[in-house]
Amino acid sequence: MMDRSAGPLLSVENLSVRLPPGADRSHALAGVSLSLAANEILCVVGESGSGKSVLANTVMRLLPPGVSPDAGRVLFQRRDLVAASEAEMRRLRGAAIGMIFQEPMTALNPLRRAGDQIAETFRIHTRLSAREIREKTLALLTEVRMPDPAAALRAYPHELSGGQRQRVMIAMALALEPALLIADEPTTALDVTTQGRILGLIRDIQKRRGMGVLFITHDFGVVAEIADRVAVMQAGHLVEVGPAEGVLNRPQAPYTQALIAAVPPLVPRAARAGTAAPAILTLDGVSKTYRKGGGLWPGRARVTHAVKNVSLSLPRGTTLGIVGESGSGKSTLARCIVRLLDPDTGTIRLGDTDLAALSRRAMRAEARRVQMVFQDPFASLNPRRRAGELVAQGPMLRGVPRAEALAKARALFTLVGLDPAAMDRLPHEFSGGQRQRIGLARALAVDPEVLVADEPVSALDVSVQAQVLALLDSLRDRLGLSMLFITHDLRVAGQICDRIAVMKDGAVVEAGPTAEVFTAPQAAYTRALLDAVPGRAWIPGRPHAPAA
């Protein structure tokens, strides 16, 4: 199929892409050069703002208005895409170059059937009959291993799961057997087991069809799983490029070294002393069901058993990880413990108090003892309050005079590694990692006994994630905190948790010390979860481990 196998399929030469005035820097990409051979997967990896997505969209010429290349060339099969006419680009898009995106929910038109949206690619570029298109679409859905291809053909996007939607996107991108597939974070929005299957699918099809794949990701685990070669980007510059095995295990650039060092290895942490302490928090038979429906379209109430009969205990001074995929009920459980939700049954014993039995008013008085750190560093701080005030708010609610509360906030800022001089700033003036630190200081301000952390690092870049994890770990020891750590990421869990409970469909399927769960998982689901972690065989800093 590839008659031009002599030269590279795609070659980016000294490419610069200009940002509109007022952006945080003048260029999204500055002098980037790299090439992609037919039949290889090149992973472009970098943190947010590195310009990796801009690179993908430049190749496709789908940049937002105001953003445009101002130097360099993008040669695809020896044609310069930067200089190509819009009509020429339209002929290439979807036919010679396919693209898949990060959010499979929003990337599909919600009002049109999946089959119709795949078929559209044929209708744009070919003169096939409706019948032939239908057959080809069905064949594509079979190729991307859609569970029921005939039904998926007629399904609307909202009737499909996240993974199925991404399969539709892949089918759409592959419809006309493009020579180049651009995948922009295609598995970031998916659960880990689904992610594993989609990565496998992309790899298989790439091999079978001999495509070149430009794969954009922020996740070194994914890189280890799928890449032939790796390009590392930082702030619009290419930092390092080379074969995957070399870059992952013997990174040359200091930036790459730092990034890889921040990736938590999929190994349990060394056991700590004193983890056999008596329990401070004990859950017994906690259940929570949701009744959804009503509103403007009443009578469609659906009952979801979000948490089913969960019993767990948290020894004093330790971290208990609650691990599960989306919909496993882990966040609902966390919200029941801090009584943002009222559990239907069961007891939640903190010391001698059953939190589940308290009235709203009584819980308000006990609120101090269990605090929560939230996932989204952008949504978890009131955008209109100054950082110092946010932290001082808790003590002030309990009657501490303002000056005293602010003095405490000052001390906490230092404790969590923020400059107390920044207390007068508004949340939007802080970075994501700094906001998470503010959220942590706010929780600590009322001297809690138990800290519930709900995915506190999942919205952060890997280097910031490592810092926040280290901070949490040291604070627990210094302040004698007990911590409940909710996460979907087994790497993160292995880094910080003494014990782990695995949840699936609202129930705990397995619980035990981290090392035991990692090395000798009892439940089949735990094994599946561990197997699905991308790049599980790659241990950062241990070059002898083979790439998948």
Partner: protein, 283 residues
């Protein structure tokens, strides 16, 4: 401050502000320039504008000074618009905040009432209220406020529905903060900007409602309202069309000014909606 700068850089918004200031100036100047009763006899009826410098906008069929009525009409329109808007927005925020924050049965009940109000054509409802309570200016103002609250209520509710589940609100609950404080101090300030912007729409509609009512002779006949004057001019439309035309322009300018200011505020408070979206790289 950034919002103010964005506002001042927007020519349409600036024009709106200038026009609005002009209307306000006219309203303030009315008693100084035309100290006599604007509804009193000023001269020979039906004089064309720009003929007699004493009554430079001419006189209507009863010999009343059109310029005096236009100037005094600005006071009436602005006052009715402002007070009715305050009433509508206050009710709307109260209903919307409670419905959106508590949800469930409270929400269902309040939204039923809101929907029912929206099912009744607001101008018809206004007619009923005027028929029952009479048509002096205070009654008309309150009535306009009473028929205008459902839209701001729905808007406030929508804002509260999204904000109440934000993590910063949950964080306040976890800290043990009470409902009233969360509603008033945490959510409301964040929900307010779109409601304030919408107030300009309510005010524009309120001014139009009053003028329509006055045009139909159902508003207070004892105040110089632009709508009254247009209605009075209907009888001589065939020949002296200027009697109706002039106050109509005054209404147009006022409503346009209010709308432009509202839109300018909207653009200044939601900068991302203007022009191309900022470039955001994937995480």
């Amino acid at each position: 401050m950034a919002a103010l700068r964005r506002y001042l850089r927007n020519p349409a918004a600036l024009l709106g502000a200038v026009l609005l200031l002009l209307v306000i100036a006219v309203a303030l100047a009315a008693p100084l320039l035309f100290p006599k009763d604007p509804l009193g006899l000023a001269g020979r009826p039906l004089q064309w504008p720009f003929v007699n410098p004493k009554v430079w906008l001419g006189t209507d069929a009863s010999g009343r000074d059109i310029a005096a009525q236009v100037f005094h009409g600005a006071r009436v329109s602005l006052l009715i618009g402002l007070v009715a808007t305050v009433i509508a927005i206050a009710i709307g925020i109260a209903v919307g905040a409670v419905a959106g924050f508590y949800g469930g049965i409270v929400d269902d009940a309040l939204m039923r009432v809101t929907e029912a109000f929206q099912t009744l054509p607001n101008f018809l409802l206004l007619l009923v209220l005027v028929a029952v309570f009479g048509s002096d200016i205070a009654t008309v103002t309150v009535a306009i406020g009473l028929v205008s609250w459902p839209a701001p209520a729905r808007l406030t509710r929508a804002e509260f529905l999204t904000l109440r589940n934000r993590e910063f609100v949950q964080a306040c609950r976890v800290l043990g903060m009470g409902d009233a404080r969360i509603i008033a101090r945490e959510i409301l300030p964040n929900a307010l900007p779109p409601v304030i912007v919408y107030a300009s729409v309510v005010m524009a509609v309120a001014i139009l409602l009053e003028s329509a009512l006055a045009f139909l002779n159902l508003s207070d006949p004892n105040v110089a309202s632009w709508g009254n004057l247009i209605g009075a001019g209907r009888g001589v439309l065939r020949t002296q069309w200027y009697v109706s035309a002039i106050p109509g322009v005054a209404i147009l300018v006022t409503v346009l000014a209010v709308s432009l200011v509202g839109q300018g505020l909207n653009d200044a408070l939601n900068p991302r909606l203007r022009g191309p979206a900022p470039v955001k790289a994937a995480p």
